[in-house]
């Protein structure tokens, strides 16, 4: 029986146990004079839990532990000569495991051919459709047979024990159906644990991502001193040629990339903040309900456009347009420039600024507006002197969130910013960003032991720390503001 089959049977048994338990509890409720503590559904679920969970954990544990035990046993069975010859045990074991997939097809005569030396193990296995390396030796075949047999036995026992546990659990859960049994409490406890487990998945994933990036970064910093990375002003990683391991010819100064990122984000914010804020003020203070209900979703569509499409727009339409427009007034703008990427990215983050600011401005209590009107203030005085000061912390939070979005943005800058790592003040020149360089260092044939590749992780980690810091700061400000009015 395959493992999938065991899981499927377990699932079906669980469902059946639920209906059985509920039915039985119902019947008992009707028959018994005593009032039941829990509802029939709770009892049903209680039986399900006892049927499924112990067996489930047993199977999971078995699947983790059993291969280790088998491997240990097979390793010990290898002739001493094999391990003594200096060959790596793990390499031998890899071949043994490959062999074990095919040994069941071998017949008596195949063994004779091998022992007589007529055919090599590799040739015999190939004739059975199993590919193994040329280092497969006859003694490994013995180990493979053992491996195969132990695995099969282990699986048989697993099926047997899982079945016993399942039935035992079911019987135990079934016995628990009684008027005073606190099935509801038990079920709710298990559900709570399930919910906790679900939320832990997200947290653990984040931790896993951070750790994997962190370890690769540490690997990078073994080859390139952190000072050169964080304070170097030249980005010139050269090529990551396969075979030239550890060739730290390149220079990995992050400053030009950070500068490009910051410059483009600044241009983006200079576009997005005024437009977004003014449209938010219009939406929340001036627009009628009809206009608002149409215009706000339209504005938010901007956020739904894939960023690669913005990239096309920048590359094909906006960049050449800026170049030609700049040419008309005698200002030299390259097609891929700070301005191109910054403008298009600014348009992309308008909805982040406007939508959040709109919510925040709308959340300013109506009583403040009326208080200001009641003193004879005009609408514009009210907005400028009462509403905006009250909304300011939240708006700052919105802008910071938009900024962290801009800093992490990739596709627009890959297409529109250029690849030359310059530190320049001229917005018409091309710069590059951290994200662009991560993409270019990780594209193509890679070897994950050269600084040219590993630098991408160090860049990613830096970017992560920066945007995380911005997000935390923004959320802190927004939350502080919320407390003021709720």
């Amino acid at each position: 029986m395959t493992t999938q089959m065991i899981f499927l049977i377990l699932l079906l048994a669980g469902v059946a146990a639920f209906f059985y338990g509920r039915m039985r509890a119902r019947a008992m409720t009707v028959a018994s004079a005593e009032k039941f503590h829990s509802r029939p559904g709770h009892h049903g679920f209680y039986v399900t839990i006892w049927t499924m969970l112990p067996a489930f954990f047993l199977i999971v544990l078995w699947l983790v532990v059993a291969p280790l035990v088998v491997r240990w046993a097979v390793t010990n069975s290898l002739p001493e000569a094999a391990t003594a010859s200096g060959e790596s045990v793990s390499l031998i074991m890899t071949t043994v495991e490959q062999l074990s997939r095919g040994v069941t097809q071998l017949e008596e005569e195949d063994f004779d051919r091998i022992s007589s030396g007529a055919m090599t193990v590799q040739e015999v296995m190939r004739s059975k459709g199993v590919l193994v390396g040329s280092d497969a030796k006859p003694y490994m075949l013995q180990a493979a047979i053992l491996d195969e047999r132990l695995s099969a036995n282990s699986h048989l026992f697993l099926t047997l024990f899982a079945g016993i546990t399942m039935i035992g659990g079911f019987l135990y859960g079934r016995r628990g159906i009684a008027p005073r049994a606190r099935a509801r409490n038990a079920v709710e406890q298990v559900m709570t644990l399930g919910l906790i487990a679900a939320s832990t998945v997200a947290i653990l994933t984040t931790a896993g991502i951070v750790l994997s990036v962190l370890f690769e970064s540490i690997e990078f910093f073994r080859m390139v001193p952190p000072a050169d990375f964080f304070f170097g002003t030249v980005w010139d990683p050269r090529f990551s040629a396969p075979g030239r391991v550890g060739g730290s010819d390149g220079q990995f100064g992050i400053l030009p990339l950070l500068w490009g990122t910051a410059y483009i984000s600044l241009v983006a914010l200079m576009v997005a903040v005024p437009i977004g804020l003014m449209s938010a003020i219009y939406m929340s203070e001036y627009a009628g309900n009809k206009v608002r209900s149409i215009a706000k979703p339209l504005l938010e569509i901007l956020a739904g456009i894939p960023t690669i499409v913005y990239g096309f727009f920048a590359l094909v339409t906006f960049g050449p347009f800026l170049r030609d427009a700049g040419g008309l007034v005698g200002f030299d703008i390259q097609a891929s420039s700070v301005l191109t990427a910054g403008f298009v990215m600014g348009i992309m983050i308008i909805p982040f600024v406007s939508s959040l600011s709109d919510d925040i401005i709308s959340a300013v209590p109506q009583s403040l507006r009326e208080g200001s009107y009641g003193l004879g203030a005009t609408q514009s005085e009210t907005i400028k002197q009462v509403i905006m000061p009250a909304a300011l912390p939240g708006v700052v939070g919105a802008v910071l969130l938009a900024a962290s979005r801009a800093i992490g943005e990739t596709m627009i800058v890959v297409l529109a910013a250029g690849i030359a790592a310059n530190i320049t003040l001229n917005p018409g020149e091309s710069v590059t960003t951290v994200t662009v360089k991560i993409v270019s260092q990780l594209t193509g044939d890679l070897e994950f032991n050269s600084p040219q590749t590993l630098v991408a992780f160090a860049l990613g980690l830096t970017l992560f720390v920066v945007t995380l810091g911005l997000n935390v700061f923004a959320l802190y400000i927004v939350r502080k503001y919320r407390e003021q009015y709720e």
Binding site: E370, G371, G374, L375, G376, P389, A390
Partner: protein, 271 residues
């Protein structure tokens, strides 16, 4: 909008006598969308007196109050018919500037609503937007001080004028809002249940304050508390289901009302 107050104001000052009429409403109806909230209210508000508007919840007294400085304009679905005059001048006239009207008819709200600014700036906000010479610092300080004194808050806050107004207690905040309204030098002050969020001590302070303010201002107060109406007002108007049932001297309304509905309400049979 056209500025029209200049030629009119001499007239209003001439009419400013103790028993004259400050504001008058004729046949005022208010609709919120399809729903009619006020039905043909006729009411005269005498100068330098306190008029109390009483009645059960949802009777339209707050709606009427908000008509007096056109605060209902803020609500998009509200529609008003009829005439309301301030010193004989129609406040719903198309060429009247609503901003100027609200400077003359100030308002204090149910819930204290200090601006998220310092105590000083809360008071100075109104005068500043009305062009009070902000470059003359001592004048502004004096205006802030007198406004706070009139509102009986000066002693409590004089050492911390630069601290946020939102940090004061509820009663202090409400007196700050009254001081804020006074600083604009209005002629009429509308109060929409100003004590409903306050404890009895703060309420007593505000009632005392209203009595002092009466010599300079005309006050209209909406209140749920009949005791409060009886204590502070000279005239009382009773609203029920959007209709002005009865209006008269406070003493008469509370001792010998003409209408049975008024009688029932003040004796606590409904409401």
């Amino acid at each position: 909008m056209v500025e029209i107050s200049a030629p009119v104001s001499p007239v209003s000052e001439g009419a400013n006598q103790a028993d004259s009429v400050k504001m008058s409403a004729r046949d005022v109806c208010v609709y919120y969308g399809e729903k009619q909230a006020l039905f043909g209210v006729n009411l005269q508000i005498p100068t330098n007196e306190i008029m109390a508007l009483i009645g059960p919840s949802g009777c339209g007294k707050s709606t009427f109050l908000r008509c007096l400085n056109r605060m209902n304009d803020v609500i998009p679905i509200a529609r008003i018919t009829g005439d309301i005059e301030l010193d004989g001048e129609d406040i719903y006239a198309p060429d009247l500037d609503v901003v100027e009207l609200r400077a003359r008819v100030g308002m204090v709200f149910q819930k204290p609503n200090p601006f998220p600014k310092s105590i000083f700036d809360n008071i100075a906000y109104g005068p500043r937007i009305h062009g009070f010479s902000s470059n003359n610092k001592t004048d502004m300080e004096e205006l802030v001080a007198t406004s706070l004194q009139k509102a009986g808050l000066w002693e409590e806050v004089k050492d911390r004028l630069d601290q946020p107004g939102t940090g004061l207690s509820g009663g202090q905040q409400q007196r700050l809002c009254i001081a804020r309204a006074i600083a604009v030098k209005p002629e009429v002050i509308l109060m929409d249940e100003p004590c409903s969020a306050l404890d009895p001590i703060a309420t007593a302070k505000i009632e005392e304050l209203m009595d002092e303010l009466r010599s300079d201002y005309t006050i209209v107060i909406v209140t749920h508390s009949m005791q409060q109406a009886a204590r502070v007002s000279q005239r009382t108007a009773f609203f029920h289901l959007g209709v002005l049932v009865e209006e008269g001297d406070t003493d008469k309304i509370f001792t010998n009302p003409d209408d049975e509905r008024t009688q029932n309400y003040i004796t606590g049979r409904f409401g």
